[in-house]
Subunit: 209 residues, 2 copies
Amino acid sequence: MLIYDAHSPAPRCLRMFLLEKRLEIPAVRVDVMTGENREPGYLAVNPTGQTPTLRLDDGSTLSEAVAIAEYLEELHPTPALVGHTAEERAQTRQWWRRVELNVTEFIHNAYHYAEGLPRFESRIPVVPEAAAGLKRVAQDRLRWLDGMFGDGPYLCGDRFTAADIWLYVWLDFGNGVGQAFDRGLPRIGPWFNRMESRPSAEGSRALLA
Amino acid sequence: MLIYDAHSPAPRCLRMFLLEKRLEIPAVRVDVMTGENREPGYLAVNPTGQTPTLRLDDGSTLSEAVAIAEYLEELHPTPALVGHTAEERAQTRQWWRRVELNVTEFIHNAYHYAEGLPRFESRIPVVPEAAAGLKRVAQDRLRWLDGMFGDGPYLCGDRFTAADIWLYVWLDFGNGVGQAFDRGLPRIGPWFNRMESRPSAEGSRALLA
């Protein structure tokens, strides 16, 4: 297998997932800053031009970081970051989606329409007039998520899961692109500090070898 | 098990999924039009106020239609609408996410900020100035999806999957709320007609018994 890695939040989610799973997969780097991911070579790998992509041993390719993570968990169930049982996996996916559909995709799209506009306006349809509002929604829904966060250290209680990884990586990304979150949130503030102290948080900043 | 069903696209995705799986699960109806889903009774079931929710036999609840569908597929693998193998499931999840993150969530959010504004502005943060742009992105990305659609009858080639259900239900919803799509799209136009002719398309319009 081979991973197409890049300096971008979605590939970083996958890198942190791999570090937590203790999986090593060879990688090549795609320079998304210069638009290498929109050139024919990479588009033959993933016609969407998005990163990351996983090339399987049969030569086929799989895109979308969540789909890749789920696939690697099926091949390597332990340590479980989705879940050991159907019920655990269901709970993880529930929180993973709450994170993505309410918070991180708003951060993502608002970035495309604001700080990322010069890079993205020639690549994808952009909506600059939406940026401020989408940023506001992301922070509002993060407070909403904070209110639903239980007493456990993680989104799924005692279980550290992929949902934690995704939220952490996108909040950390937001910190650097005009979307800093409120560190005073009673649950997510301390949770973020716990996430930050994991070796995989620092380790995932660097591209795969 | 018990499903909390409602007149809304996400519960309809689940209804169509159940019909295609030939699964019958008892259901109760939540009146989202009058805001019953934002009242204490339902918030005790799902603190997000969103529908659908599945109550499990142990009394715990599971929300997010995709998480519920994945869970039911694990309990009842055949007919497979996610996949029989890890590779099939990965391919389905890849397309499911392309559908949701590029098209259907834009339809969803634009609806909240435009035609759905009177109902949603008191419930969730809204961004009316984003509505027109998000609608434009949804249709742009649908053309982009059309360009990646292969030669098979479905998103995953010969396999009919949950990704087809989700895209169909949301495009059908868009038709009724000022987000009609271009029926002339070379792949998705004929695909939509094929989807429309499935008994589950009509059957899923009605709430569960």
